[in-house]
């Protein structure tokens, strides 16, 4: 199987890239793990009812999905990429069978994940991410039963609260953990944010959503912990406690860098977003000539920006593969860049406003589990650093953190932050795990079959 452009991820960036690339005459194949296009933000949007409680911004994704379906790009849903070779071969598993796609250019559009929120008790059944509740609403019209508490900060937290309320299952409380200093820091950046007034307006509409009015809100919440035996029974914080059946956590989203790290693309620490992201040029080009990144996987900027960066990556690929010359590429790119600049103008303000509290990045309690898969605690990581481990890979060798099925996706940021704190060095110097194939599990049978 071959393609000129292989796109990993059918979210807004991947879909937009595929649409434009196909338009420009490239043979495009899009691979996505999910059964339906849309990524997480537009998950299952094709099945959404016109009066969906998820709101207009979500429903707006239908147009993009329709354009993607009509684009002529080959689409492989249910395909889990497990290895990418620098020579352009993408190995994937689909319905238990292995496949390989040889592409001249690869666009990684794998999106983002929610930042792990390692509070005491976060591994209890009944503690989930806010995004998880949203996924249930989007993909299956399911709402929580019983008392739901939302805790954390950031636009998604409020969005989910409003959506749950609109769906007839308003949360019992919303605990906002944004540190007091965030507002002051954000206010300094408010001026620059006005260029992204559309985002600001969206945010304000969100905060004013009718459903939110009745939900008890507490600000400046510190010392968050989930309490219960065998499952979550209450959420507690410094100065308060609430019984709950479901605790939804959210402290922002961070790029999914798993595949990029496996490819050893150059990454940099983004101090504003407090996360790692790939080093990209203005076209989403990486340190490998045949690999680009678009969308939130390259840095968190939201769905609209993802669409725009997807288009830029498509233009660059079309140019690199000889379909368009540089002049046409640049001509088409100009309005896209202008729109992207407007989208991004709002980000520094938002990032300052929603900067996670230090305890989310490096939990102070030694007995908090930081690697969920291998049940490695913060204390074990600290001890590994004191013994001499200089980074996450050595910590992994000493403690098994990052060796479980998730391959460090969830614990990576926290392990790095804990080591930075213990070693007294900036997190940018500490580095990240080096993940390997298989990026997602594959059976021995599927591998054996490849040997013929």
């Amino acid at each position: 199987m071959t393609a000129e452009l292989a796109v990993v991820g059918a979210g807004p960036a991947g879909m937009a890239a595929a649409v434009l690339a196909a338009e420009l005459g490239l043979a495009v194949t899009v691979l996505d793990e999910q059964d339906l296009p849309g990524g997480q933000i537009y998950r299952a949007v094709e099945r959404a009812a016109p009066d969906s409680p998820l709101g207009e911004d979500y429903l707006a994704g239908r147009d993009l999905v329709a354009a993607f379906r009509a684009s002529g790009a080959a689409y492989l849903p249910g395909a889990a990429v497990w290895h990418i070779d620098p020579d352009g071969t993408v190995s994937f598993g689909r319905d238990g069978r292995g496949g390989a796609l040889r592409a001249r250019h690869i666009l990684l559009a794998a999106g983002a994940l929610e930042r792990p929120v390692p509070i005491p008790g976060w591994t209890l059944p009944g503690v989930m991410t806010a995004g998880a509740a949203q996924i249930l609403l989007k993909s299956a019209d399911l709402v929580p039963e019983g008392r739901t508490v939302l805790a954390g900060q950031g636009p998604l937290l409020y969005l989910v609260a409003a959506q749950l309320a609109a769906a007839g299952a308003p949360p019992a409380a919303l605990l906002d953990t944004a540190p007091a200093g965030n507002r002051r820091a954000a206010a300094r950046l408010a001026g620059a944010a006005l260029a992204g007034w559309r985002s600001l307006a969206r945010g304000l509409r969100l905060l004013a959503a009718p459903g939110l009015a009745g939900i008890p809100l507490r600000r400046g919440v510190r010392g968050l912990r989930a309490v219960g035996r065998g499952r979550v029974e209450a959420v507690a914080w410094d100065g308060g406690e609430l019984a709950c059946d479901l605790l939804l956590l959210h402290e922002g989203v961070i790029p999914d860098t798993q595949i990029g790290r496996a490819l050893q693309l150059a990454h940099a620490w983004d101090a504003a977003q407090w996360c790692w992201r790939p080093v990209l040029d203005e076209w989403g080009g990486t340190s490998l000539a045949n690999v680009s990144v678009a969308g939130d996987g390259g840095g968190i900027a939201g769905a609209a920006a993802a669409v725009l960066s997807g288009r830029l990556a498509a233009l660059a690929a079309a140019h690199r593969l000889g379909r368009i010359d540089a002049a046409e590429r640049d001509r088409r790119a100009a309005p896209i860049r202008a729109a992207l600049a407007r989208e991004r103008a709002f980000r520094p303000f938002l990032e300052a406003l929603t900067r996670p509290p230090p305890s989310v990045l490096a939990p102070p309690q030694d007995d908090v589990i930081v690697c969920r898969c291998e049940e490695v605690t913060a204390g074990m990581i600290r001890r590994a650093a004191r013994l001499g481990a200089q980074g996450p890979n050595q910590a992994k060798a000493f403690t098994r953190c990052g060796m479980g099925p998730c391959q460090g996706r969830l614990c990576g940021p926290v392990v790095a932050a804990l080591m930075a704190e213990t070693l007294g060095r900036p997190i940018a110097e500490i580095g990240a795990y080096r993940p390997r194939a298989p990026y997602k599990p594959v059976t021995v049978a599927m591998l054996a079959e490849l040997a013929g």
């Binding site: 290895h83 190995s91 013994l387 001499g388 390997r436 194939a437 591998l447 490849l450």
Partner: protein, 371 residues
């Protein structure tokens, strides 16, 4: 400038075992190591404490390996007592599975040669037919024709070993100096100064255990370590209930439950990338050995570079030009950890390698060159 009783360059399994052995012998050494991202064969190996395949044509290597395997239980017990870390060493014996009659015949011939070469030292093994293998290992595939077995073989959690050696080293008074490369080396008999950046450390003894890095370092000390990288890849499955009581050369089950699948050899230079074709070949052989493996999920895999001497036999040496300088090079840092900690390190502490190690000197390569 800081002074130590000895400097060990290289914090992998070889260096850490030797450094731990030196601490055990009463010295206060410094252990120099690179940072988080380095080739680190120690983080890539299979975990066998393996005797039966070692030293064909080099009986001294088979003897050294046996000595190490015999020292292993003591090392494991000592590490547990000193560090609280259980490295999970087990020595149930080991099997090398053969698929098809040709492989079995070739294996039998090899084992016979090893026995013949062992002379008075002896080498006990059994060639098992299919039925005998089936009694030891559940669910072998129809292609399995038999196996060679020795009681000398075992396996261990090699990462727990690395952790325990480091912990034991530091607890015993050793100084661990990571994030360093050797930028400066001052070399004189019994006087060695190593510099990294602004840092200088000095000692009358130095051991080069830097894996692939030894090739460049050794000549500075009047030594030779012509090692080259050989890539190996490994697959690990999801955790399963205990099935395999005995390790084989290419399939073993860890105490945590994951089943490890090896064993590959590629000559690709310093490339630690993975190749699906190689992973497929390993998976295929594993599934032919144990068909029930087919349905298990591989959750982890990696590639690492073995430190390979030209003939596969370790290189141990002491410098004639600069007495006090030693080197240790091998691709079996797990198997030989017993020997490195409990036999080799005391030799270094005493100031000279035992004459029994003379065949391991790199001078053996000069003989070939001269001929």
């Amino acid at each position: 400038m800081r002074e130590f009783d000895a400097i060990v360059i290289g914090g992998g399994l070889v260096g850490a075992a030797i450094a731990y052995g030196l601490v055990r012998a009463g010295l206060k050494p410094a252990l120099i190591d690179e940072g988080d991202v380095a080739f680190r064969a120690s983080r890539g190996n299979f975990g066998l404490v393996w005797v039966q395949s070692k030293g064909l044509g080099a009986p001294h290597y088979q003897r050294w390996t046996r000595a190490s395997a015999d020292a292993w239980p003591a090392l494991a017990a000592e590490l547990l007592a000193r560090t609280g870390i259980a490295v999970g060493h087990e020595r149930p014996g080991g099997l090398h599975l053969c698929l098809g009659d040709e492989e079995l015949a070739a294996r039998a011939a090899m084992m016979q040669r090893l026995q013949a070469e062992s002379g008075n030292f002896g080498f006990e093994y059994e060639m098992l037919d299919r039925a005998a293998v089936a009694e030891l290992l559940p669910g072998i595939g129809p292609a399995v024709s038999g196996a060679s077995f020795t009681r000398y073989d075992g396996h261990v959690n090699s990462l727990a070993l690395l952790h325990a050696l480091h912990k034991g080293f530091v607890a015993g008074g050793g100084t661990y100096l990571p994030n360093r490369t050797v930028g400066y080396a001052g070399v004189a008999p019994h006087e060695f100064v190593i510099g990294s950046g602004e840092d200088r450390i000095a000692a009358p003894k130095i051991v080069l255990a830097a894996g692939l890095g030894n090739a460049e370092l050794a000549p500075l000390f009047g030594l030779s370590a012509p090692v080259r990288p050989q890539r190996g890849q490994i697959l690990v499955t999801e955790r399963a209930g205990r099935v395999l009581a005995m390790p084989t050369t290419t399939v073993r089950q860890t105490l945590e439950g994951g089943i490890m699948i090896g064993d590959s050899q590629e000559d690709v230079g310093f490339d630690t990338g993975q190749r699906p074709a190689v992973m497929a070949a390993m998976a295929q052989r594993a599934a032919r050995s144990f068909p029930w493996l087919a349905e298990l999920q591989v959750v982890r895999a990696w590639a690492a570079l073995r430190v390979m001497p030209p003939d596969g036999v370790p290189i141990y040496d002491q410098s004639e030009a600069f007495p006090g300088a030693f080197t240790a090079n091998c691709h079996s840092g797990v198997t030989l950890a017993g020997a490195h900690a409990l036999l080799f390190a005391p030799m270094v502490a005493a100031g000279a390698l035992d004459p029994a190690l003379a065949p391991f000197s790199a001078r053996r390569f000069d003989v070939h060159d001269a001929a």
